[in-house]
Amino acid sequence: MSAQTLYDKLWQSHVVHTEPDGTALLYIDRHLLHEVTSPQAFEGLRLAGRKPWRLSANLAVADHNVPTTGLAQGIADPIARLQVETLDQNCMELGITEFRMGDPRQGIVHVIGPEQGATLPGMTVVCGDSHTSTHGAFGALAHGIGTSEVEHVLATQCLLQKKSRAMLVRVEGALGKGVTAKDIALAVIGQIGTAGGNGYAIEFGGSAIRALSMEGRMTLCNMAIEAGARAGMVAVDDTTINYVKGRPFAPKADQWERATAYWHTLVSDSGAHFDALVEVDGAAIKPQVTWGTSPEMVVAVDGKVPDPMAEADPVKRSGIERALAYMGLQANTPIVQIAVDKVFIGSCTNSRIEDLRAAAAIAKGKHKAANIKQVLVVPGSGLVKQQAEQEGLDKIFVEAGFEWRDPGCSMCLAMNADRLEPGERCASTSNRNFEGRQGQGGRTHLVSPAMAAAAAIAGHFVDVRELMSEV
């Protein structure tokens, strides 16, 4: 058999049937559900008189709409409350496992799947959320789906899919101090663009990726969708397997050896063919800051806001002009001179324990600057929150004037009460800087957790590497 990519292996092992035009019926091992993209799917299922194909494949949690403060009072917004109650009701009626609000296991769907071991190497994982690419960090084939497909997976345990092309993003070299998986993700998107991965499944490889923790790999795969690729993935190694071991949904004693023997095969064979190769010098990556309204509008922290006059392509030039007008920025402004109003540390990209540790390391013994109106620290799950509190991170944040919140998606997309007001500028560890994403008229700059914490302390963007060398 010819050399296969990791993607080839994951794809082939899940094909149930193939149509003449190559459209495949792909079996889905794990289906994660949340309140926003599932109600219409459950309704469709009910109207057609269908039942879930395999209950145990499903795991549900409310995350997008949940408040991050005053949980005991419930959700104030009646429309949002109805949506969460609808998920509760659907899961109860059908017998789907759900971590409800108040359960310590509740949190952002892409944090809790891996945390529980519900995401395993070799699986196909889908969810009605584009950041499902996160789970590819485990050597799984994971991607977001629409609500019609949520219904399709519920009813058939399968999806109709055309195979994507394969892209290898190879990052070699050791990352510098203060440079994180988030910076790799933003640097790659800056290089290939937000449409660069359209039609591809991306495998991230190279020595810089092998050196990342599972949490770093999740951050990276999470952002694959921002490069246009539905799926991002990283080959299985000991880091993967050590992370999975002992988690509640992970295979137990008698099956563990068998599982790990199989999982170790989930790597691209040497000589496997990729349709595209992107090479990145990991050692050259600096901390990244987005300046515009698309994740590809990004520069290194020691760079400047670009000048539209320097852009030859008229569509791109007008895009830059529109972005600068929306962001309230002047061309050629050094990034470190941009003052921020609010800071958000959280989201499925950067709300895990290592992210919180990185932010706390910067905030320790310091206080947010006078011009900073609010710093939200929103852990990815109740269990991340517990862990952070055991380590005393909450105290560091509170002493720095940051707000320590309950888990949820929060100000990544501002469906709950956490949002920017028009014109407010935010240093955010989330994944999208689209117009209005964090609140209508809000201005988002995407950064790593350490960079976000550093901006909170300084009141403007700073090169976190300089702060670290002081210590």
Binding site: Y27, I79, D129, N198, A229, R230, S294, V315, A414, F434
Partner: protein
Amino acid sequence: MEKFTRLDGLVAPLDRANVDTDAIIPKQFLKSIKRSGFGSNLFDEWRYFDHGEPGQDCSGRPLNQDFVLNQPRYQGAQILLARENFGCGSSREHAPWALLDYGFRVVIAPSFADIFFNNCFKNGILPIVLDAAAVDELFRETLAKEGSRLTVDLDAQTVTTPAGKVLSFEVDGFRKHCLLNGLDDIGLTLQHADKIKAYEERRRQSEPWVFM
């Protein structure tokens, strides 16, 4: 799903690259548990000057007259002409639901984001990829002449301009079949129920931990 065969429709040009699903339908409208009623909030932040909330009557809201869909000449448009990477961002199917509810049945662009592209086919919307030069030309023609229309024929896989120029496009055979016939693909998949069960049985043996 409503079938799609042939459409002769008015074209609205949305001259921006990377139009994301947050722009197509902002997050506050995602709280709905229905599939319908999103049309009046399509492109809400660009269409109106005020902040929109779900359930609000939009008829009295201040309109941004500069926004293309608010211009009288584009009222009743059924074909949206767009730029690169249309529909990037979230997987929300509320985006095609909003386009459909507004009246769009076709979106033409040089490229689409994958999930959005897929979601269109599930809702009777035909997303058409044409090369950038052809899209440029369609923008020029649409802007030049008020009432500019296009004829889209899915069976023939063609877009025909008022001048009679015929542009061909690609579409997967299976998707085309489903869209032409308005087929419910869950029903189609369930015709393979025996294969799915047999597959599951094999995997239960080889990877039992997946089925715990």
